[in-house]
Amino acid sequence: MNIIVCMKWTPDTSEADLTVSTTAKDIKKDDLDYDMNDWDRFAIEEAAQIKEKIGGKVTVISLAPEESEDMLRECLARGADEAFQIWSDQMEDGDGFTTASVLSEFIKGRPHDLILTGTLAEDDGAGQLGGMLAAMLDIPSATLVSRIEVNDQKVSFVRELEGGLYESMEMDLPCLIAVATGLNEPRFVSIRAVRKVASIEIPNLGIDDIGIDAGKVGRSGSRVEIEQVSLPPEGEGAEIIKGKAEEAAARLAEILKEKGAIG
């Protein structure tokens, strides 16, 4: 079983104070911490578990600049056999379509039975890459998958719909699965485990290695253009209860009582 996992290197914005860059085309990212996309942590774990169960080889790839090497090394410690970093300066400012084009060009040239991605990237949150990549490779795909069972030439899986409803489906291999968070419990990796894979080389491939035309990547190949990013209008918003934690909590208790909100 040849498994390829696509990993995205994303800035953690959930608690950060974000400011718009001077071009207004993106946010300022210099002070943000980057890490593997949370959804992808479940994808690499699933790949490792499938390999442990039925054997095979796990390859991780990421289209990301050099700084993402730590993430790829962590993937090796999580059970991947090899990792490739794909980047050329021309790839800057691409969209989901160009990212999928590059990854599909790379994957086409190697054996692949199962491709795993996250359903959504936490930064752009488009939820588009998996489906696009599968279409380019002409293989079936499914997103938001919360259970996977590989047997023989097919995969049985369960995908999430809304309101506690799921659909159970099956697909022939080769195929692509975009996983949902929560489908497994990502293992803890120790610093020692990461050290053990320190000597594995992580090749960096550029557009020439991939064999893709420069016009098809980055800004020139993208179909969607970000015109402007902005902070959402403040709107009415909450009435903020001021004061130290203790005072604010005491005041909130009173408000809840006044509003008849204490059962």
Partner: protein, 324 residues
């Protein structure tokens, strides 16, 4: 762009609300572009076609038994064929979990540009724009489409309120299924319902809901105690279930449980729209979050900017005192 298409979403023989919202967005574009709106229904169900024809000038129906569900492979193959002669168009649909399964692959098959989860769309000087969110839903992003004759847009639930148009009834046009859909590589097996638990948050009036802000090794007793004091139940956001801290039937949100409480306390929850989508009615919503910019403060009634580990024990104690 000469044509506006809306793909109807259906499940278990019923049109889903996402369809009406996509029609509302489609009507806006259709009037801004002076283009005709056509609704596409992939289903053998004539009642659904009838229903759609009361709201769209034209309904195209592809009738094949495979469309009992919206199998992505069948949807992509079929739309690719039936939209081939259409030249330039915008295709709209809801941003639902079923549609997330095929919209990106469809955009590649149609050689179209894609923007997902759009909360606003407009045409200015003949150019199409869409707005979506990025970076933990804290940033709005306005996007346009480069030399694109064809654009696929998915529409965020709740962004385009639908009102019945009372237009003249549209024509229903049956289109023969253009391709053989008998040997698909992807097959539907059955629907599965999530297990029901011993707590029913759907009917609770007071909900104490915890999110990722409670940390990796939280003291859940602290939150349960507050819930007990307030006479409420403990609920959570999705990451809490993903980490196995609480069972799935505690999860509020689009992929969890819909709740309709009178009071909702959001503790360490950022306010992602999939979470808020599970909160119906208009509860007294109180948020405690250490990030003053957290989107939850935009929808909350009251907020405390602070560390929940400091706020919650005091709150519990004070409420106990007030109850006497």
């Amino acid at each position: 762009m000469k044509n506006i298409y809306v793909l109807a979403e259906h499940r278990k023989g019923l049109i889903r609300d996402t369809t009406w919202e996509a029609i509302a967005a489609g009507r806006k574009l259709s009037s801004e572009l002076g283009a005709e709106l056509t609704c596409i229904l992939l289903s053998a169900n004539a009642t659904m076609a009838e229903t759609l024809s009361t709201e769209a000038q034209r309904v195209m129906v592809v009738n094949d038994p495979i469309f009992e569900t919206m199998n992505s492979e069948a949807v992509i193959k079929t739309l690719k064929e039936i939209l081939k002669p259409s030249g330039s168009y915008v295709l709209l649909m809801g941003a639902s979990n079923a549609i997330l399964d095929f919209a990106p692959g469809l955009s590649v098959a149609l050689d179209a540009a894609l923007a997902t989860d759009c909360f606003s769309v407009e045409v200015k000087n003949g150019k199409l724009f869409a707005s979506r969110q990025m970076y933990s839903y804290k940033i709005n992003s306005l996007v346009s489409f480069k030399d694109s004759e064809r654009v696929v847009l998915t529409i965020r639930a709740g962004s385009f309120p639908f009102t019945s148009s009372n237009v003249a009834k549209g024509a229903v046009e049956n289109v023969a299924c253009p391709i053989d859909l008998t040997s698909l590589k992807k097959r539907f097996v059955k629907y599965v319902e999530a297990e029901k638990g011993d707590v029913d948050i759907a009917s609770a009036d007071i909900i104490i809901s915890v999110g990722r802000g409670i940390g990796d090794e939280p003291d859940l007793d602290m939150f349960q105690s507050l819930a007990d004091t307030m006479g409420g139940v403990l609920a959570c956001s999705r990451p809490i279930v993903d980490k196995n801290l609480l069972p799935k039937f505690h999860q509020v949100g689009t992929s969890g449980v819909e709740v309709k409480p009178k009071v909702y306390l959001a503790l360490g929850i950022s306010g992602a729209f999939q979470h808020l989508g599970g909160i119906k009615g208009s509860p007294l919503l109180v948020a405690v979050n250490k990030d003053p910019r957290a989107p939850i403060f935009r929808v909350a009634t009251y907020g405390i900017v602070g560390d929940l580990n400091e706020v919650v024990p005091v709150l519990d104690e004070k409420i106990k005192a007030l109850k006497g």
